[in-house]
Amino acid sequence: MKKSDSYEEFIKGIWRDNPVFVQVLGMCPMLAVTNSAINAVAMGMATFFVLVGSSFLVSSFRNWIPKQVRISCFIIIIATFVTVADYTLLALVPKVHKELGAFIPLIVANCMILGRQEAFSSRYPVRLAVMDAIGMAGGFLLALFSLGAIREILGDGALFGIKLFGENFEPWVIMILPPGGFLTLGVILLFFNWFKFKKDEFLAEVAEAERGGG
């Protein structure tokens, strides 16, 4: 039973409650840094590290943090992890850090992260909080990667900088410009909503058939 609980917390972030495609949170980095797959993955990894680290700490100290100052404490914890991520990226991969620019410090302001602390980590035990954070951050990483990959393939004819098509491919430049981010995100959201609609319809049909059969 316990095992299925943490699995449930993990999988809901990846798919059912995906922070980007379903909750539509964290749109700022989502649109800004997904002009190539590598940037999207770097941003996703940084966010992953910050979210999982913060959730672990917030959940561990949830009984010591007075609720009057909880938001300030969450922000201190998140900001510390963001600074660590910022310097680590600057030291290890300066090129990627240069591309991501101001968006690394802005992870502090990603509403998805503070939202998870307030809604989940501060109320649940460490194991569940970490599973929830891994799920949510994984879902965010997945969403960033799919957007980054689609935009890079269409807009640059490449994936992770490796050219996929021949010389004759004319890059669809608008896809790596800001409008391309909105277009791609719009199409993906459309797909997710269509899928949900179809699923509900299917479930309703099944329920109808069961009632008829019974």
Partner: protein, 221 residues
């Protein structure tokens, strides 16, 4: 969050202490990561600069930083705030080749920072490398991704100043092809080089009397 609605509100002292401790731990963590990554970050920056200098000055294998200080150009390793520097490039025999001069100015979207190699003797630009830019991906970023454009700054005359002209219409040694679709970015690069050149040309010693490479300067590492 065990302090439910019916529990007594914690004292102000406890609130202050909680935040103070959180701030203290956070501060220690940040100082720790700053101190531990600083050497790598500084080394990365120095290596990037050295690579860029060697790229814009072909044949150069040693460099020396010159700082414009107190109205004269002196060899110095340190760089104070508000001071400007150029890098002298020397070949393996210690012979002076040219200067690598950093410049910056407005581009299409944000500041473009670049470095160009310059030989005062022939008044030629030897190479150009964009160090930072946020130009439009796919269009403006060709100022550093388009090999033809970057290559056109090799042995380019800068006396009189460089002019960017429509692609395929270059006729003078001081003209280069602007990039189709990125005219503003191309012209910005040319303007930055011209301006930086005219700012520095008065400060550089006359051709032939360049300061020799200091023995302890090494390869700048």
């Amino acid at each position: 969050m065990n302090t439910g609605a019916n529990a007594a509100a914690p004292s102000s002292l406890r609130l202050i202490l909680t935040l103070a401790i959180a701030g203290l731990i956070s501060g220690i963590a940040i100082i720790g990561i700053y101190e531990s990554t600083l050497p790598t970050i500084t080394a990365n920056k120095a290596r990037e600069l050295r690579e860029a200098v060697f790229k814009v000055l072909p044949g150069v294998s040693q460099m020396q930083q010159f700082v414009w200080r107190g109205d004269q150009l002196i060899a110095a390793e340190d760089l104070q705030k508000d001071e400007e520097a150029v890098y002298g490039g020397y070949d393996e025999n210690g012979e002076f080749v040219g200067y690598a001069i950093p410049g910056a100015g407005p581009g299409f979207q944000d500041t473009i920072g670049l470095l160009f190699g310059f030989t005062p003797e022939q008044q030629l630009v030897l190479g150009m490398e964009v160090l930072e830019s946020r130009e439009t991906p796919g269009l403006g970023d060709k100022i550093y991704k388009d090999a033809d454009f970057v290559g056109s700054f090799s042995k380019l005359s800068i006396d009189p100043e460089i002019v960017a002209v429509k692609k395929g219409t270059t006729s003078q040694p001081n003209e280069i092809d602007a990039i189709t679709g990125a005219t503003i970015s191309s012209k910005a690069v040319v303007r930055i080089i011209n301006k930086t050149h005219s700012d520095w040309i008065q400060r550089l010693p006359p051709p032939g009397s360049e300061p020799p490479l200091r023995q302890d300067a090494g390869d700048g590492s």
